[in-house]
């Protein structure tokens, strides 16, 4: 594992560098148990074939939003291959992540068209406002920030994808408003919860 992480470091795949492998955010035990039970139920629906490795990982990540070490171990055991091989495949592809993402996922497009109109400045502003770097999650697990190569909406550049919504013609000044919207929404929900408790 150590060697693999070192190798990836050399390659400079930022999101998989050692610092993120040690999760900053912890997942509690009950949550983990539920996840593992669900993964076991997913696995049995697949034939024990090597070619199913990527589809299985995709489904697990789609449902649980990340691949934990335990999840990869379970997949390895089921497909009868080594855990390092599963990690090797998973870490090769940009789609897979190894730490729990935030409740809201922010993906900033840095395709060519977005780059030439200042996509990196938008990303930087997200980093500044959320006080995290790309590839990281805020400590309250509200937001995670990623860069993507191209979402294919180049005519609307610069583009950011927040959760499932594509925001075209982004600007650094729109970042604050976007985050503020989430904050207001969160506060409203909390207020309502408190009211219903009373």
């Amino acid at each position: 594992m150590q060697i693999l992480i070192l190798f990836l470091d050399i390659k400079g795949l930022n999101c998989y560098e050692g610092k993120n492998a040690e999760m900053e955010v912890s997942v509690d035990e009950i949550e983990e148990k539920i996840i593992m039970e669900d993964i076991a139920s997913i696995l049995v629906t697949f034939a024990k074939e090597r070619s199913n490795l990527i589809p299985v990982l995709q489904i697990i990540q789609h449902k649980h939003r990340y691949l934990s070490l335990q999840a990869m171990q379970a997949v390895a055991e089921y497909l009868e291959i080594s855990t390092s091989e599963v990690y090797g495949v998973a870490s090769f592809y940009n789609q897979f992540r190894f730490h729990p993402p935030g409740k809201h996922q922010i993906r900033v497009c840095l395709g060519t068209a977005c780059h030439v109109v200042g996509g990196d400045i938008v990303l930087e502003n997200f980093e500044r406002k959320l006080k995290i770097k790309e590839g990281e999650t805020t400590s309250d697990r509200e937001f995670s920030l990623e860069r993507v190569a191209c979402v294919g909406c180049c005519a609307l550049a610069p583009v950011s994808v927040v959760d499932e919504t594509v925001h075209g013609r982004m600007a650094p000044s729109k970042v604050e408003g976007l985050l503020l919207g989430f904050e207001i929404e969160k506060e409203r929900k909390e207020r309502e919860e408190r009211r219903s408790e009373q």
């Binding site: 400079g12 500044r128 550049a157 600007a171 604050e176």
Partner: protein, 647 residues
């Protein structure tokens, strides 16, 4: 002997589809077609659709809303076509919810087509000018994208009613060899980038020994700046499916895989629906149309590795391994997926087939350039007035494409270069604008066709920065197999980063060139072989910019942030105006003694927001390179943070 059964099967299929389709459409009510491919959705098509539905319900008007794919006119999204009985079908551009409500009220209820929102009518008429008058429409020649944005991608009946799958029917009556002969005669070259003759590839696959041949449709469109494959799948998936079936029949394959990027969720959904619809009506599966031709099509989601666009890496990925390219030969047509002969074709290549076999190979050959027949689909983005997807005959010049069809560079800025072919391509300057677009001319000029991404750059773009951007991309996406690619691209990037920070050293440019040549020689696959292209072409055509970065520590386009600075021209700044203060994300703007504004250079992140927000009549924010040129305006000691927020 089988032909009669085949004819009967197809005739009944068409009849059923027509009945279903015509039953679902009424002739006397208005139809509203909304472009709802990914780009339309990003521009707000969902809200527009909801606004139409709400307005119709409110006014009790009966009308049908049909979500369609993308017409390719991304600048006009959300794009809506309204077919109101008694009027010609009319396109409306940038239809926001407000316009949607107004259109229902004025056009559908009162019969006023609201000329101010009209883009044009789709057919000749006496009332409204047609869109055919625009160069964006009349200079294009659409083959692959003919029906994109005009038909419902989720309705197989509409595709069949409009003549779809008739080519498959025709081909099933022919010998597979005859199908290959037609494709050979058409001179079709693969649209994935390299331009290998498709007919030849098929012939090799047909003659290869192996029982379980497979057809793979490569929709792993990873080039940043290219999105035509996505659009084609989202807008007309059955055309692609028909092409896949034609290919499978010709080469003798029983299985086909569509390899789509997972980053395209809508394309994955549309394709899945299309496959299940085709299976339901018997156009896929066992004994298709009563013949002994069987075909199963499955969908595989790529997981976001650029190198998987390379065919051997793609195969590794489907087999569940790390997507690393393999040494060729043997080529996939001999030993491919699971060791069996495999044909891998791009989405566009396969989508051309129904038209080619319908009209014949010779018809296709006559379109476009002699050595690159047919049309090319480009996504023209960046600094152009009308960005979007354009399909033009091969041989059209770059000038025609960028200036006549896409409207040229906006805001009266000067054209600088066009980047063709994504990270593997190159930047071509002004002198090359008359280059005809075809596989060989572009390669000769130092760029390449690639997947067809075209990014137009104007005088406000720095070529060193663009080269750095592409190397940053290829360096991250290098699979790590070949040392030259893995480590070489990292060093290229390091040098370019140094240059953009103004830390370049003498000899850097020579080092870039030498390293580039070695990476090209020492890499196995296309990624490494072409990764240095952006560096080499920009060095060749824009050497002066590199020199300015290296020797003068200056960025002529004022992009590289370490080499630029913003300042406020006190002669132009207006007292009491706070526009820039509110826009600054880092509170770097302070009030000077004379109640004007200054920028604290130690805090400024050079995002340019103050420049954008400064009212046009003042136009007081200036940008300079090198940063030393900015006049020093001292921050008054008493004017600390709380003063700014007060003012």
């Amino acid at each position: 002997m089988n032909n009669k059964k085949l004819e009967e099967c197809f005739a009944s299929l068409v009849e059923k589809a027509k009945k279903c389709f015509l039953n679902s459409r009424k002739t006397d009510v208005p139809y509203i077609y909304i472009g709802m491919a990914t780009c339309g959705l990003a521009a707000g098509a969902v809200e527009t659709k909801a606004a139409f539905a709400e307005a119709l319900a409110e006014r009790h008007i009966e009308a049908h809303i049909v979500p369609v794919g993308c017409l390719g006119h991304c600048y006009a999204e959300p794009l809506v076509l309204i077919d109101n009985p008694g009027f010609p079908p009319i396109y409306y551009h940038n239809v926001n919810p407000g316009k949607a409500g107004a259109l229902v009220r004025a056009f559908l209820e009162e019969g006023d087509p609201l000329f101010e929102y009209v883009l044009g009518a789709s057919v000749e008429n006496e009332l409204i000018p047609t869109v055919i008058a625009f160069p964006r429409f009349n200079m294009e020649r659409r083959i692959v994208m003919e029906e994109c944005g005009l038909i419902d991608p989720e309705d197989i009946n509409e595709y069949i009613t409009k003549g779809g799958y008739s080519t498959l029917f025709k081909a099933l009556g022919l010998e597979p060899g005859e199908v290959i002969r037609q494709v050979l005669a058409s001179g079709l070259r693969g649209r994935g980038g390299a331009g290998f003759p498709t007919g030849k590839k098929w012939k090799f696959a047909r003659n290869a020994s192996g029982q379980e041949k497979t057809v793979i449709c490569n929709a792993d469109e990873g080039d940043p700046g290219a999105y035509m494959d996505r659009t084609i799948i989202e807008s007309n998936p059955h055309q692609l499916l028909e092409g896949i079936a034609l290919c499978a029949y010709a080469v003798g394959a029983k299985k086909a895989v569509v390899y789509v990027r997972a980053e395209y969720p809508l394309a994955v959904k549309t394709m899945t629906t299309a496959i299940s619809q085709a299976r339901q009506v018997g156009l896929l599966g066992k004994e298709i149309l009563g013949t002994d031709f069987n075909l199963e099509v499955s969908l595989f989601q790529g997981s976001g590795a650029f190198v998987c666009g390379e065919e051997t890496a793609l195969i590794q990925s489907i087999e569940g391994k790390r997507g690393m390219p393999q040494y060729r030969p043997p080529y996939p047509v001999q030993v491919g997926l699971w060791g069996q002969p495999t044909v891998i074709n791009n989405v566009k290549t396969l989508s051309f087939l129904p038209a080619i076999l319908k009209h014949g190979g010779r018809w296709y050959r006559e379109i476009g350039a002699p050595d690159s027949p047919g049309t090319a689909v480009f996504s023209v983005v960046g600094k152009v007035v009308h960005p979007g997807l354009v399909e033009v005959p091969m041989g059209t010049s770059l000038r025609t494409l960028i200036f006549d069809i896409c409207g040229g560079v906006p805001e009266k800025k000067k054209f600088k270069a066009v980047q063709i072919g994504g990270p593997s391509g190159g930047c071509l300057p002004n002198d090359f604008l008359d280059t005809p677009i075809d596989f060989d001319s572009l390669t000769q000029a130092g760029a390449m066709m690639g997947s067809g991404g075209m990014v137009v750059l104007d005088e406000g773009n720095c070529m060193v920065d663009v080269a750095r951007y592409f190397l940053d991309f290829t360096q991250k996406e290098s699979c790590g197999k070949c040392t030259f690619c893995r480590i070489g691209t990292r060093h290229l990037l390091g040098i370019l980063e140094r240059l953009t920070k103004g830390e370049g050293k003498e000899g850097d440019m020579e080092l870039l060139e030498a390293l580039s040549r070695e990476i090209k020689e020492g890499s196995l696959c296309g990624l490494g072989k072409t990764a240095p292209n952006p560096v080499l072409t920009s060095l060749k055509y824009f050497r002066d910019e590199y020199e300015a970065h290296l020797r003068e520590k200056r960025c002529p386009a004022m992009v590289c942030r370490a080499l630029t600075a913003f300042y406020i021209d006190l002669d132009r700044c207006a007292r009491g105006c706070d526009a820039c203060v509110g826009s600054c994300p880092v509170e770097a703007i302070f009030t000077t003694k004379g109640q004007k504004k200054g920028i604290d250079q130690s805090l400024c992140v050079k995002c340019g927001e103050c420049m954008a927000s400064c009212p046009r009549e003042y136009d007081a924010v200036r940008k300079v390179s090198p940063p030393e040129l900015a006049p020093k305006i001292e921050r008054p000691p008493e004017a600390k943070k709380h003063d700014q927020t007060d003012s």
